[in-house]
């Protein structure tokens, strides 16, 4: 009994001590805030960075791109995150670094004969003016227009690019996660939705019956997103003060290096390397 009691006490004490030791070691703290699009990626990068640099503790908070930019400018966070390019007046006093590129493509079923979509046509589809594939030269079939959940980066980019206000969007269905949208499209020959280019291209390569539509005559692919010739792209930006503190620079260099390319790909973004 006494041995058991001892062991129990020992293990409990050990468990209590271990985390506190680790906490003592973390003397370099970084805080990041901003875009919820970038947050999952930067959190993964931070986890890997922390594993390699035991003395770092990195805190990631979301709150939208505008907040990320404002926080970085006012010094409330060490690094801001923005999933849009900065306006000119926002650039004063800060430095921007492109972490990765994000592009979205309009996606239809592989059986759909339509190959290309213009911005005007996409706008008409998502505002309810086109609802039959015949109107685009396809077969006489009613479209199943699928929108993405509000607040998702895809929805934000699509509506901003096409100049549609969120309440003006007309659709038949809404989907959340990429996989759910893919299943809806593969099960419905008349469906159209929009998805991250990285994810869609990966699915096409593994034989999923979908097609990425050319947009404004430019093929949707990781390559055209990377060289930014594809129109529906946006940069994922990190914002720092002009003069970098040493520990910020260390994490920034790591995030911008090719050591995190697999994480960028894993989140369906496109690395700039």
């Amino acid at each position: 009994m006494s041995i058991k009691t001892f062991l129990f006490t020992f293990v409990v004490t050990l468990c209590c001590l271990l985390p506190s030791q680790e906490a003592n070691a973390a003397d370099k703290r970084l805080s990041l805030s901003g875009s919820s699009t970038i947050a999952p990626l930067i959190s993964e990068i931070a986890r890997r960075f922390e594993a390699e640099h035991k003395d770092f503790r990195i805190d990631v908070q979301t709150g939208g791109s505008s907040r990320g930019i404002a926080d970085a400018r006012r010094g409330l966070s060490d690094i801001g995150m923005s999933s849009r390019a900065l306006h000119d007046e926002e650039k004063a006093g800060v430095k921007t670094h492109i972490l990765a590129m994000d592009g979205i493509a309009f996606v239809v079923h592989a059986k759909n004969p339509i190959k290309n979509l213009s911005a005007a046509q996409a706008r008409q589809i998502y505002t309810g003016q086109i609802s039959n594939w015949k109107q685009l030269g396809g077969e006489d079939a009613e479209m199943t227009i699928i929108d993405r959940a509000k607040g998702r980066s895809e929805q934000e980019l699509m509506t901003k690019f096409l100049g549609i206000k969120s309440p003006e969007v007309k659709a038949n269905l809404t989907c959340g996660e990429n996989q759910q949208c893919l299943k809806l499209v593969t099960g419905n020959a008349h469906a159209i939705t929009y998805l991250s280019v990285g994810t869609s291209e990966y699915e096409v390569n593994r034989g999923t019956p979908i097609r990425l539509l050319d947009f404004e005559g430019i093929p949707a692919s990781v390559a055209t997103v990377k060289d930014q010739s594809f129109p529906l792209v946006r940069p994922l930006v990190l914002i720092t003060p002009e003069r970098l503190p040493e520990e910020v620079e260390e994490f920034l260099n790591y995030s911008l290096s090719n050591k995190v390319d697999d994480l960028i790909k894993g989140q369906a973004f496109v690395s700039t390397h």
Binding site: A149, G151, T159, K165, P167, K183, N188
Partner: protein, 292 residues
């Protein structure tokens, strides 16, 4: 030697257990209340019922927070699911208890229990891949009230079947001799004696099943289409309260985030109301103590 498990220790342990459970519920309610405060102060409760649509993040413009279509959606899907599951569940209970041949009964009971254990995401997958394309061939875009109600209905059949069966079983054990003595046949005993006598427990089972349907999230996100509009037919897409939380929680902040917590609070209150309502069902409690 001093016995570790005695009456006193059981009393203490069970008190602790119920204490933990109730404290957790209260803490969750407090948490939901606290997190929804920004929404209550910024947009107010009234706008949830009077805005023109659900567009919580409108790029620069003020957001719109109309949740009535989602309330209607939740109500439509779970009511229809109950309408599907109630007769099937009750008949399953009656069959396994009174009509099934001995060997077959064992298999049927295990099948119903297995159905109860299927993870909702698996049912959702089945609904999305099989049911939705089938419904689309009939009418509409596939993802719809009907798809949600069918999958949810299948999901809650076991809840109704198992609770009804245990209720009918206990009543039947008590009164079988009497009905036999009265010369009542099998169908008459079941329909006119056993089921009426166990109506309260069956009612409680239905309420629990309904609460599960209201709270289910994964399935409805996958097969209901998630459009925040009033459905005009069972083939129309619909969005439930739970689906809104699941779809938007990861991408929300400020008043939008608060409004999602407010929806969560609303869901908990509606389940609580349902549970309290179940106390009002007339009839005897679990054991069927009353006479005919």
């Amino acid at each position: 030697m001093y016995r570790l498990i005695n009456d006193r220790s059981i009393a203490v342990a069970s008190t602790l257990a119920i204490g933990v459970a109730s404290v957790v519920v209260v803490l969750i309610m407090l948490f939901l209340g606290k997190e929804s405060l920004p929404a209550i102060s910024e947009i107010g409760l009234g706008r949830l019922f009077s805005d023109s649509s659900w567009n919580p993040e409108s790029q620069g413009d003020e957001g719109l927070f109309y949740i009535v279509p989602m309330l209607a959606g939740t109500l439509a899907v779970s009511t229809l699911a109950l309408a599907i599951a109630l007769p099937l569940g009750l008949l399953t209970a009656v069959y396994t208890e009174f009509y099934a041949p001995r060997g077959f009964r064992f298999i049927m009971e295990r099948a119903v229990e297995l159905l109860a254990g299927i993870p909702s995401v698996v049912l959702g997958m089945w609904g999305l891949l099989i049911l939705v394309p089938k419904i689309q061939q009939i009418d509409g875009h596939g993802a719809s009230v009907l798809a949600g109600a069918l999958v949810l209905g299948i999901m809650i059949i076991p809840t109704i079947a198992l609770s009804s069966r245990s209720a009918i079983q206990s009543v039947a054990e008590k009164h079988r001799m009497q009905t036999t003595a009265l010369g009542l046949g099998r169908s008459c005993s079941v329909l006119d004696v056993f089921i009426p006598l166990s109506r309260k427990s069956i009612g409680v089972g239905i309420i629990l099943a309904g609460a599960r349907a209201i709270g289910e999230t994964m399935v409805v996100v996958m097969v209901c289409g998630n459009m925040s509009v009033f459905p005009q037919s069972v083939f129309d897409p619909v969005r439930t309260l739970t689906a809104t939380i699941a779809l938007e929680m990861g991408y929300s902040y400020g008043a939008h985030r608060g409004s999602l917590f407010l929806i969560g609070l609303l869901l908990m209150l509606s389940v609580l109301t349902a549970l309290l309502l179940s106390k009002l069902i007339p009839g005897s409690s679990l054991r069927g103590e009353d006479t005919i």
